[in-house]
């Protein structure tokens, strides 16, 4: 099963809506609640990253019998140094975004902790591609 969701850069009022749709689908499929919880945390963080940093993006979800594969692609500034971005506490979020309680530098580490596989590639001034894979078994 494949699903595609658009993510609007800068629109915080919609942040989380794609993750919420995926959560509903996984619940309908009776996926183990623990795996749903992990997946929801990683997808929400990925979605917020696009909203906070990129112009636009999309979330492509592929659900198989044994796993969920999610690709989040955005058009945006990209990440110059991925290792640095992966460090807990490192963030390039604006002061306004931080004031809302985002931009604590916990997003990517949260994704890593809550996914079985995480692959990230990025090109400065082009965009970022993030793949999250969680196994149901």
């Amino acid at each position: 099963m494949e699903f595609k969701f658009e993510i609007e850069g800068g629109n915080f009022s919609k942040a989380g809506s794609a993750s919420s749709e995926v959560k509903k689908i996984l619940k309908q499929l009776n996926v183990n609640p623990k795996i749903i919880k992990r997946t929801v945390v990683s997808l929400y963080e990925a979605e917020v990253n696009v909203v906070a940093h990129a112009f636009e993006g999309n979330m492509n979800v592929d659900i198989d019998t044994d796993k969920i594969v999610v690709k989040i692609e955005d058009r945006g500034p990209g990440i110059p140094d991925i290792d640095q971005a992966m460090q807990e506490g490192y963030s390039t979020a604006t002061p306004q975004v931080r004031e809302m309680g985002f931009g604590a530098g916990m997003g990517l580490p949260n994704i890593k902790r809550n996914s079985d596989q995480m692959n990230i590639t990025s090109k400065v001034d082009v965009g970022t591609e993030l793949e999250i894979i969680n196994y149901f078994g």
Binding site: F12, S13, A15, G16, S17, S19, S20, K23, K37, V40, V41, Y44, E45, V48, M100, G101, F102, A104, M106, G107, N110, R113, N114
Partner: protein
């Protein structure tokens, strides 16, 4: 213990989501960093924060939290209150600061266990 119990005992204001006052509380989390709550709060937790914008409801809904308590008399933004009503996850408000409120909630939740 349900949300209604803490509303009564702590004299909290129910700002929105009154249809969820019978939700069960099994623990709590206090933080104003959304990713921190996303990563560490759990289902049926009560969340103490000073954030009032709509994204607190996205978190509460995704994590299936029992309720949100705003500190220092803060009230939710209109769109946050709307989503709280739709999802039946109450947003409450306390006149107290996070430290005092969390201490009282911690004691109540532990006594109820």
């Amino acid at each position: 213990m349900i949300v209604q119990d803490i509303v009564e005992k702590l004299g909290l204001k129910v700002c929105s989501g009154a249809n969820g006052l019978n939700r069960e509380i099994e623990g709590g989390y206090t933080s104003d960093l959304l990713s921190d709550v996303m990563g560490n709060a759990d289902e049926n937790h009560i969340w103490v924060t000073l954030q009032t914008h709509k994204n607190i409801m996205a978190i509460a809904s995704l994590k299936e939290l029992a309720a949100i308590v705003l500190v220092k008399g803060y009230e939710p933004d209109e769109d946050a209150a709307e989503q709280s009503n739709e999802e039946g996850i109450p947003i409450l408000s306390s006149e107290e600061e996070a430290f005092e409120l969390t201490g009282k909630l911690y004691e109540m939740i532990n006594q109820a266990k």
